[in-house]
Structures are given as C-alpha cells and as structure tokens.
C-alpha cells in the first residue's frame, strides 16, 4: 500500500510503498528512527507504534522535544 509521510526533523515529504500489514513501529524501523524519540500523528491524532497503517494514510513524524 501507499502512504505519505512528513518527517519534521529533516523537513522531508516522502511517498512510500509499504506492506499491507505494516504497523507504525514497522515504518519507524524501516526509516531507522528510534520510536522513543518521536510522536507519530495521523489525521491530527497521535497514534501509538502498535497501530496498523492504512492505504493512503498521511503520517507525520514529529520529534519529541525537551528543552526549557
């Protein structure tokens, strides 16, 4: 299936072909992104790494920030 992703850290938009059964964690692993350092959103809702992705999803990968 096809998904669109935006990676905030690198300010990049990507179109990706992924397996039909892919979960958020599979996507992050394929992009070599540590899942503890990011938040992932779909349709303005945060989703956890165990959530299944759907065809034509628009996914944003946002960096966790910590400075004060």
């Amino acid at each position: 299936m096809q998904i669109k992703i935006f990676i905030e850290r690198t300010n990049k938009n990507l179109d990706l072909e992924i397996k039909d059964t892919s979960k958020v964690i599979d996507l992050l692993k394929s992009l070599k992104i540590d899942h503890t350092t990011v938040l992932v959103s779909r349709n303005n809702e945060l989703i956890t790494e165990d959530i299944n992705l759907n065809n034509n999803d628009n996914i944003k990968i946002l960096s966790v920030i910590s400075g004060g």
Binding site: T36, E45, V64, I65, S66, G67
Partner: protein, 319 residues
C-alpha cells in the same frame, strides 16, 4: 485596581479572586520558567520556585528576567527578588535544589505544577507525583523554533506517560540545535494561559499543542489514554519511589551534567581550589568555567560526556 484589566474580561471577571488564592509551583527557571513566573506573579498567583542552576552569560539571550549583574547567582534567588518587586502582595517560596523523589513533597502545597525543566527524567517524576496526588501539571518544552505543550489533569486527560516514552537520549537538544528566543515567550504565554483556565475551573485544552514560530505552523493533536500506561492505569510510580533515580543527569545547555555527591563545605573547598584554579565563591556556590558546586552536594559540570564529567568531579571535588 491592580488586576482591573483581568477583571474586565468576561472569562475572568470575579474569578480573578480565585487566582489570588492559588499557588503554582514552577520547576525550572530557565527561559520558559522565568517568563511563566513573571506572567503568573503579575496575575496575582502565589509561587513556589524551584531551580538548581546559576545564571550564565548565554542565558541572557532568552531568559528575560535576568541581567548581566545576575551572572553567577542562583536563578531561583534572583527570580524571587525580582518577582517580589513586581508583585509584593503574593507569597513566593524559593528552593535552590535539584527536584528529585526525596524532596518532591514540597510540591504538595501547589494547586498546579508548571514543567519548565530541560529533561525527561524530571518530567516522568512530576507525572508520577501528579497522578499519585491528583495535582494537575502542564508540560512545556522548546527546541529550535519549535515548542510543545500539554495539560495533564488527573482523571480528566491522558497522563504524560500515556504519550511519551523513556529514552536513552534525544538526538537533538539545545546544544546541537539552539533555541530561538521568541518561541520560549510564546510557549510560556500558552502555558500561563492554560494555568489560568485550570486554576479558575474553566474548560482547558485537552490536546497536545505544537507550534513552530518560524514557519507559523500550529498543530493540535488529539491524545488518548494508553490502556497499558504504567503510571495512570497500572499505578506503578517508579520515579516517585526513586527506583529510576540515577544521581547523574545530562542537562540541556552547553554540554552540562549534574552529579550529586556528599554535602560540601564551600569555604574549605574554595580554599583548596584557589591554589590551582580561578574558581570564585559567593554565598550560594563556587563557580568556574568547568563547574558550579553547591553546599548540598550538587555539582554542575561542563563536559561532553558522562565519563569526562565524572573525571572533572573526581579531580576538583573529591580530591
């Protein structure tokens, strides 16, 4: 008269009196904390201020209540002095310490806690304390031109641990990326506004708020409770119980670490150090270009690794 402009607002009005009866604890008096403290003091809210650090030259770019004469002095002491001049009618308690599981009960008097810290370990501790004692808190963080904020109100919202994971270290921090000085003011204004809503028992934001001030991009993301959350579902308060306490902490800014050791006699230590270093002493701490040492045993060290920090600690403090 002092609060007339608040009292004129339809959504505050007589609720201004509620604010004057409340106490907010502010953890961390860096860029976000000092600005939030300034706003809340002017709004008539009593404050508990907690910070472990001293003011340095590179803080002045964004930490708006400090000036050049304050360099080398503890942030919490200077902030209390300045805020007392801004509003002498409020009560301000100031604690020069590192907030950890053994002293966090000083927050029990607070109606609300503002997270203005620079590390996730302290946020997980505040979250444990908040859920255990049912005291709300507001997460706020900045990096580059980005900011995030989220209200955590026990029994009404997901908790911090529902959303955020423990991590070894973030790949980006203020050392590598920097902080634009306008984003800290913006997130402090949002944090303080949400504080006023919560303290006056009004509807508040239940989403996570993300803003990039450079691109003027704002996102509000829906967050859901994690039905497997260690803290708010399983009631595992391991940070509050001290099980996660390490005693050594990477701080945000200038490759800094904090090591907590035995209490120090500052006069004796300074006498010894003055033979080999240019360390200076004031009534709160000893400070040099490599470290700042406090009498309670905390030492802030400039180093680019944990091992280097330990080496400096060993060379200057324990020898």
């Amino acid at each position: 008269m002092r609060y007339q402009k608040h009292e004129l607002l339809s959504f505050i009005g007589k609720k201004q009196k509620f604010l004057e009866e409340k106490t907010v604890a502010i953890i961390g008096l860096g860029a976000t904390g000092s600005t939030s403290a300034n706003l809340l003091a002017r709004a008539g809210i009593n404050l508990i201020l907690i910070d472990r650090d001293v003011i340095e030259l590179d803080n002045l770019q964004r930490q708006t209540i400090f000036d050049e004469l304050d360099i080398g002095h503890p942030k919490v002491i200077i902030a209390k002095e300045k805020l007392s001049k801004i509003n002498s009618k409020i009560k301000i308690e100031a604690y020069l310490l590192d907030l950890n599981y053994s002293n966090i009960d000083i927050l029990l008097k607070a109606n609300l806690i503002l997270d203005c810290t620079d590390n996730m370990e302290t946020r997980f501790l505040i979250n444990d304390f908040s859920i255990f004692n049912e005291i709300p808190w507001i997460y706020a963080a900045v990096l580059g031109s980005n900011a995030m904020s989220m209200n955590i109100v026990p029994n009404k919202t997901p908790c911090f641990r529902c959303i955020f994971k423990e991590q070894e270290s973030l790949t980006e921090n203020c050392d590598s990326v920097g902080v634009l000085n306008t984003i800290t003011n913006l997130i402090s204004s949002i944090q303080s506004t949400e504080a006023i809503k919560i303290l006056t028992n009004q509807d508040f934001n239940k989403e996570i708020f993300i803003f990039n001030i450079w691109n003027l991009q704002m996102q509000k993301l829906v967050v859901k409770k994690n039905l497997d959350c260690k803290t708010c579902f399983k009631n595992n308060f391991e940070y509050l119980e001290g099980k996660k306490y390490t005693g050594i902490l990477k701080l945000c800014g200038q490759n800094s670490f904090q090591i907590i050791g035995k209490p120090l006699n500052l006069k004796n230590l300074h006498k010894r150090l003055s033979k080999s270093t240019d360390a200076k002493i004031n009534k709160y701490c000893i400070y040099s270009d490599k470290f700042t040492a406090f009498s309670d045993g905390r030492v802030l060290i400039k180093a680019n690794s944990v091992n280097k920090a330990k080496s400096i600690y060993s060379k200057f403090i324990t020898n």
